[in-house]
């Protein structure tokens, strides 16, 4: 479904600040695969997400979605195929517009926007049904401005908005990091639910190693712009945090003061 071919990104090339954020990344995701991504700060996880979404262009390399070369597509065109949830709960919704208007904009993501009403009776019903699955009571607040919602509610709405049109690829970049533990728990379980339900091909960045182990069918670890570890299937099921840390140390061949702190 998604294929990255020899992707490299360097920021501020030729200056003292030069930073190789991605180094010859090679990654292929099958349809329906749910991949968790871990790695220390600055490993290049967000950069990888931005390359896939088109927010950033790679220096070299190809991006294929469903076999189609999309590396030259601008971000807005690529987002026809890609659903995203950002770390910041404010980023995924329009605060001064209502819940139903936000959902309507998301509903138009994979369709051509036309000069017809964005919120119709029929769509309201549809939106209400989808909102009901969140179990947050939002289905009774279709006309409420999104700016009035709590961070957790907004993030749940963002998640719904980026998944209910069943995008080819779902990108989640630390989308629970800004929430308190109970809200984060809620969003995590919702994520698991919708990804399963729609069988979405998903990349989820997280700093929570337990979460990375519990969720998804495959796990990749990034460091210094490279994918240094990649497990899936049964092997991943058996993996424990200690083993993961051990793996990190072995591959990098060095000893940090506390790897747990580095990774999480």
């Amino acid at each position: 479904m998604l294929k990255l071919n020899h992707i490299s990104v360097t920021f501020n090339e030729g200056t003292p600040d030069e930073k190789r954020a991605l180094n010859d990344i090679q990654l292929e995701l099958n349809k329906g695969e749910f991949v968790t991504v871990i790695g220390s700060n600055g490993a290049g996880k967000s950069t990888l997400m931005n390359i896939i979404s088109g927010a950033l262009l790679p220096d070299v390399g190809d991006v294929f979605i469903g076999g189609k070369q999309v590396v030259h597509f601008p971000e807005y065109k690529r987002s026809t195929y890609i659903g995203r949830v950002f770390q910041d709960p404010m980023a995924g919704t329009a605060p001064s517009m209502t819940i139903e208007e936000n959902l309507s904009m998301a509903y138009s993501r994979d369709k051509k926007r036309k000069l017809r009403l964005g919120v119709t009776k029929q769509r309201k019903e549809l939106f209400r049904d989808y909102l009901t699955t969140l179990n947050l009571g939002l289905e009774d607040r279709l006309n409420a401005k999104v700016g009035l919602l709590s961070g957790g509610e907004r993030q749940a709405l963002s998640l719904l908005m980026s998944t209910f049109t069943e995008p080819n690829i779902l990108l989640l970049d630390e989308h629970t990091a800004a929430l308190d533990p109970s809200r984060a728990e809620l969003i995590t379980s919702l994520t698991d639910k919708v990804v399963r339900e729609f069988g979405l091909t998903t990349l989820m960045v997280t700093h929570n190693m337990q979460q990375a182990l519990d969720l998804g069918s495959r796990l990749i670890m990034m460091d210094k712009g490279q994918i240094i570890f990649d497990v899936n299937g049964e092997e991943k099921q058996k993996l424990a945090i200690e083993a993961l840390l051990h793996e990190f140390r072995r591959i990098r061949g060095m000893q940090f003061g506390d790897d747990r702190a580095v990774l999480s």
Binding site: Y76, A94, S104
Partner: protein
């Protein structure tokens, strides 16, 4: 007094179209567009030039809107494709339009006094209907001596402006309109929802300036001339209308907000007219008056709110203290 107020409402309802245009950029798109000071005159110039050259007034008025649309699109292109700051793009366009407007008119002021305008045509259809004498009868019954020449313009323009308002309301609720509003609210988000923000901004600024130029063309026909300086200070007038309207009538929904803008434009005209009735104020003081109105409309709601908050806190404290004494 009645006559001057009548005139204020009559032109106010036309300026309301301009204010709706400014609302689209400043409020909906969050794009502080100064093109309007030029495109308003472009509308007037194109209309006057066309009418003087024998083009039917209705067509001339439509051409004004088209010219404004093109000017707005160019500003949008400068900003999105040329990556020029929004304010600067508008200023550049406004400056360029000054020369273009002068070229179109061929002289700083172009009179249409000897031509038939849209409003002249309207009056010739209107007069035989006898509605004027009905209305005038009513107001002279109220003891008002000076009666307006015609009610036709006012009534037509109320319909036109309300029509434009309803179209705008509808547009802003369509799929495209929702995306347009999201640009002013959260640009990153709407791009991640596959909206082409560049082309939306370009059309949005285009439509805004089409409305502004349409208003320019109508004001020129109302006054009987186009003048290369008639757009001076217009942006502040537009903002004043929006701010007054919002302060008085609120912004709960789009439907409400656009109505507030229209009423704000009319009220602004009335305030200016009233101010000019004051003996020591002159026409040249208009700009100062406008600036003062905007400042008052911006500051008053905040002052009232802080006062209210303060009062509430003092009351609360007094209540607590009273409660505390009771215990002691």
């Amino acid at each position: 007094m009645f006559i001057s107020m009548f005139g204020a409402v009559e032109s106010g309802i036309i300026y309301a179209i301009m204010a709706l245009g400014v609302y689209l950029t400043f409020r909906v798109l969050d794009f502080p567009d100064l093109t309007v000071e030029g495109s308003f005159v472009t509308g007037a110039a194109v209309t006057a030039f066309s009418i003087v050259n024998g083009i039917p007034p209705f067509v001339a008025t439509v051409l004004a809107a088209v010219a404004g649309f093109i000017a707005g699109c160019l500003t949008g292109i400068l900003h999105t494709k040329g990556k020029i700051n929004a304010l600067l793009a508008g200023i550049l366009m406004m400056t360029a339009l000054y020369s273009i407007n002068l070229r179109v008119m061929g002289q700083p002021t172009l009179s249409m006094l000897n031509e038939t305008t849209l409003f002249d045509q309207l009056e010739s259809v209107w007069a035989p209907l006898g509605i004027d004498s009905l209305f005038n009868g009513m107001i002279s019954f109220l003891g008002i001596e000076q009666i307006p020449r015609t009610w036709a313009i006012l009534i037509l323009m109320i319909f036109v402006t309300i029509g434009i308002k309803l179209l705008t309301d509808f547009y802003l609720k369509t799929e495209i309109g929702l995306a347009l509003r999201a640009i002013g609210d959260n640009k990153k988000m709407i791009r991640s929802l596959s909206a082409n923000t560049d082309s939306l901004i370009i059309t949005g600024v285009g439509i805004s300036n089409a409305l502004v130029a349409l208003a320019g063309g109508l004001i020129a026909q109302l006054g009987g001339f186009a003048d290369v300086n008639m757009g001076l200070g217009l942006i502040v007038i537009g903002l004043a209308s929006i701010i007054i309207g919002e302060a008085l009538f609120g912004t709960k929904s789009i439907v409400r907000a656009t109505l507030a803008v229209i009423l704000g434009a009319v009220i602004y005209r009335m305030i200016v007219t009233l101010a000019l009735e004051v003996d020591f104020l002159e026409a040249g003081d208009m700009k100062l008056i406008t600036a003062v109105i905007v400042v008052v409309a911006l500051v008053t709601p905040k002052v009232i709110q802080t006062r209210r908050e303060k009062k509430r806190r003092i009351q609360k404290r007094a209540q607590l203290r009273a409660g505390g004494d009771g215990h002691a």
